[in-house]
Symmetry: C2
Subunit: 150 residues, 2 copies
DNA sequence: TTTGCTGCAAATAGTTTGCAGAGAC
DNA sequence: GTCTCTGCAAACTATTTGCAGCAAA
């Protein structure tokens, strides 16, 4: 299996809360709960997955609140949004900077492969094209080992 | 400037028409017109760009028809769909297989950089993860030389 | 107390679909 | 003549927004 590096989820949560404070945003229970799910999830949850996960603790919370807080955290630079045109964006609050993803087309799981050579690729494109490259997106789609053996 | 390889647009158009025939789809003027735009456009047009471009020749054609035919051509494997979650998917009928893209965040132009090392990257991910990789998506986002000097 | 946040419901935007007539073959 | 395709309008879905009450600071 591939090596996967993750930050300490509690530190990630604290970093997001710190950004809330710096930007003078109120620390509501709903907001903190969304931040905690983003910081601690390894599975790159979507908005509806976050919503579902919080139903036990916040039965009256609305989807709109999840959307609003995910957007806020994204605007603070503390979550990476993985948009998919088919809908159902996924979020990574654990590593909020661009990095490659490996997506199982069957079970929809998303994992983070370690790829050393990607930085060189970015530099190669910059030099060859004259573009000033700001960010990138690199997704591999396939069938994971679990789904292959089913 | 970066080197950009393109196929002969007329050959691409003929290949798409050939697929229409093989799959027993009727050759309506609207369908052929959409295929021609996809085969000959270098700018990775979106559905609305295709629609706009065809307004002169087919003033009564509906957006739905463009959508339906783009989807048909995609299902025949003759166009590469570049979906963006913000909406406005873009299409490449000239090189209908996965390849990296370089997207200007300002003028929205999309060009095809030549990157030799990408195949190795895919193999690296396959070997390390155990995934059976089916396809990939690699986008670089930045500011093109034209927009930088404006 | 003040101001921003939440829940609800309605609005939005891109895309898809049902249907009846038109047209390819 | 048959059966698919088209144009129109309505439906759909994920997301966003307006508003009135609620709660953090």
């Amino acid at each position: 299996m591939i090596a996967v590096a993750h930050y300490d989820p509690e530190k990630r949560f604290a970093a997001i809360v710190q950004k809330f404070r710096e930007s003078r945003h109120k620390l509501t229970p709903q907001r903190l709960a969304v931040a905690r799910v983003l910081a601690t999830s390894e599975g790159h949850p979507g908005v509806d997955a976050i919503y579902d996960k919080l139903q036990d603790d916040f039965p009256t919370m609305s989807l709109a609140t999840v959307y609003r807080n995910v957007m806020l955290i994204k605007s603070l630079g503390e979550v990476l949004e993985l948009g998919f045109p088919e809908g159902g964006n996924r979020y990574d609050g654990n590593k909020p900077y661009p990095h490659p993803h490996l997506i199982c087309m069957q079970c929809k799981k998303i994992i983070d492969p370690e790829l050393a050579s990607l930085k060189d690729l970015t530099r190669e494109v910059m030099a060859a094209s004259g573009f000033k490259i700001v960010t990138h997106r690199m997704d591999f789609f396939g069938i994971c080992p679990d789904c292959q053996s089913r």
